[in-house]
Amino acid sequence: MATDITMPQLGESVTEGTITKWLKQPGDSVSKYEPLCEVATDKVNAEVPATVAGTLTEIVTGEGQTVEVGEIICRVAEAGEGADHEKAPPASFAEEEPPAAGKERAKSDADAGDSSMKRRYSPAVLRLAQEHAIDLEQVEGTGKGGRITRKDIQKLIDSGEFPQTGARSEAAQKAEKKEEPQPAKTGQPAPAQQQQPDVQTEPGDKEVPLSSVRKTIAQRMVTSKHEAPHAWTMVQADVTGLVKLRGKRKEDFKKREGISLTYMPFFIKAVVDSLKEFPYLNSVWGGDRIILKKRINISIAVATEDALYVPVIKNADEKSILGLAKAVHRLAEKTRAGKLTMEDLSGGTFTVNNTGSFGSVASQPIINHPQAAIISMESIVKQPVIHDDMIAVRDLVNLCLSLDHRILDGLMAGRFLKRVKERLEAYGPDTPI
């Protein structure tokens, strides 16, 4: 086995040396540390010793030739066995190595489908995109993880053909922030606070700065209205039996439980039981899919003087009328006391809105984004109607449903409402609760 002998480092700053004389010739046997040749550098003259014992087999660098430190000058065939522990260390440590050729590029095939960096925009890319109104969503990136590089943008600009911004609405971008805890929603549409409308103030007008809750309400209303295509439908239910039941039980109930018996728990119960039959009503729009929620968490709208909150009754399907009544009472109390926590406000899957409490008979609620639908229970009003082919005075209530038409069509919404109506109408004066 031949060992390469290289030009040694013969002093600091020395990078090359000239072989002045070979002291051994091919075929000569050499012992370890025996001088092989003489070398001259611009600083010193020295001998190059053999790093192994053996036979000089080949002279690579002839006399008078100048080679860089680390280059092979000759080869020595090692004597005997046990060659491995005698393996020559490189005589030089300082030469630069050529960059490894053919190193595989990181951009392998496996990398091609990766788009994890697609929306990581560098300052340069953002600046160029804004200066030229380029819609980055529609640009293909060639960088790592699909990142759009400055060069990608520059190429588009140079070509003069690029996707313009403006196609996507502001609300659509906002909508990407999903499932945030919601301090407020439902009821009447609130003004968008994003744009500054051209409003003149006149003497005597009073300007009210927006509270953070009001700002959030405004933003969420705009988000929902812009993103979800609202459809609206209403049915009327005859709740004469329910009214009688409540009239009969409310004093007892108050005495026993310490809280008033309202219609709200009955409404919620009818809704929850119907949601189980129609899981699409209890779902969330996921962009490229619809997510049917397993848990049924009912958001209820609770108004205060200056804001509207939608605390959540978790696992409402596991609660009885009494349990729901207590949950509604507890959340309403907490809301009025300003003690709602994030936990109270998050996780809702469907909203029940009690607009009837302030006398409304019909409303078009805004969906509690990103839920699929919202129902509002209007005032129960005594009306003359045809009942059993006779004119009778009955207690009627309107159930208004707003639905996200991306998720639901009118048919399923109608069937759902029908079931809610049937459940409410099934109550009689003696129904056990």
Partner: protein, 327 residues
């Protein structure tokens, strides 16, 4: 144009300036009879005599102190620190006296002196013969710090340094001394202090460097061209005063910046360059500014494999540039 080595450029500049100006003299350990341990002052004592080529005691504080005194008196001393590693005993003189002379005397006095010092590793010199010390001085206002990488720049900048009216630290990478050769004009010329130079034009990644690592960058750029990666290489040449305009211009070329130096990463001059880039060229950036530098270990190891690990080389530089190009 004749091709000469990096160290020959030093000698030429010294000789020509000593011929031109009688006030110029050199001093240092073994610079006279021995001609310098690296032979940078070879032949000078024969030509100019022992009064202008002073062999000093092994006392760097005295070498610096004598130079300061002489320069204030009107001479043009060019002091040699045998190794940049040995500059430490002279730091007080350099930082507290030379750097502040003009300021504290309200322009009445100044120090037109040059301190030359071979720095850097890769020569199997271990702890006391391999250090990069530029970062110790880059934060000291009042000093000019020059770090050339080619014979042309060495000669032109050393002449400028000798003619400069204020103290200049002239750091020569000792590995470049005999490794780097290049064309140098026969006629007299200077290279201005404080001007960087684009050593290679490119469009994908900007490399900012100086000294030995600049050559690694050029070598890497050559290699990467075969892969279709176009590298822009800026040679700072002078660290202080820094040519900020050239830096910002080079950043704007590609938006991806790799700063390379052999000095340790932490506190190395690359941090300052990086800060300037993020402050003044943020909207040009297409990738985080990257630094490739010597590791934060106390000294250059003597063990050959460890020295190799410490030192940068074209392969490490190539990989770093490629990574940025692909970002």
């Amino acid at each position: 144009m004749p091709v000469i080595s990096y160290i020959e450029a030093v000698t030429q500049a010294l000789r020509e300036e000593m011929q031109r100006d009688e006030r110029v003299f050199v001093l240092g350990e073994d610079v006279g009879v021995r001609g310098g341990v690296f032979r940078a002052t070879a032949g000078l004592i024969e030509e100019f005599g022992p009064e202008r080529v002073l062999d000093t005691p092994l006392t760097e504080s005295a070498i610096a102190g004598v130079s300061i005194g002489a320069s204030v008196y009107g001479m043009r001393p060019v002091a040699e620190m045998q190794f940049a590693d040995f500059i430490m005993p002279a730091v007080n003189q350099i930082v507290s006296e030379a750097a502040k002379m003009r300021y504290r005397s309200n322009n009445s006095w100044h120090c037109p002196l040059v301190i030359r010092a071979p720095y850097g590793g890769g020569v199997h010199g271990a702890l006391y013969h391999s250090q990069s010390v530029e970062k110790i001085f880059t934060g000291v206002p009042g000093l000019k710090i020059v770090t050339p990488s080619t014979p042309h720049d060495v000669k032109g900048l050393l002449i400028s340094a000798i003619r400069d009216e204020d103290p200049v630290l002239f750091f020569e990478h000792k590995r470049c001394y005999r490794l780097i050769k290049g064309e140098v004009p026969e006629e007299e010329y200077t290279v201005p202090i404080g001007k960087a130079e684009v050593k290679r034009e490119g469009t994908d990644v900007t490399v900012i460097s100086y000294g030995l690592t600049l050559h690694f960058a050029l070598k890497a750029a050559e290699e990467l061209e075969k892969e279709g990666i176009s590298v822009h290489v800026l040679d700072l040449r002078t660290l202080i005063p820094l040519d900020k305009e050239a830096v910002l211009e080079a950043v704007a070329k590609t938006g991806k910046v790799l700063i390379i130096h052999e000095d340790n990463l932490t506190g190395g001059f690359g941090g300052e360059v990086s800060a300037i880039i993020s402050e003044q060229a943020f909207f040009e950036l297409d990738a985080p500014v990257r630094r490739l530098a010597g590791p934060d270990v106390p000294a250059m190891p003597y063990s050959p494999p460890l020295e190799k690990e410490f030192m940068l080389n074209p392969e490490k530089v190539t990989n770093a540039i490629r990574e940025l190009a692909e970002f």
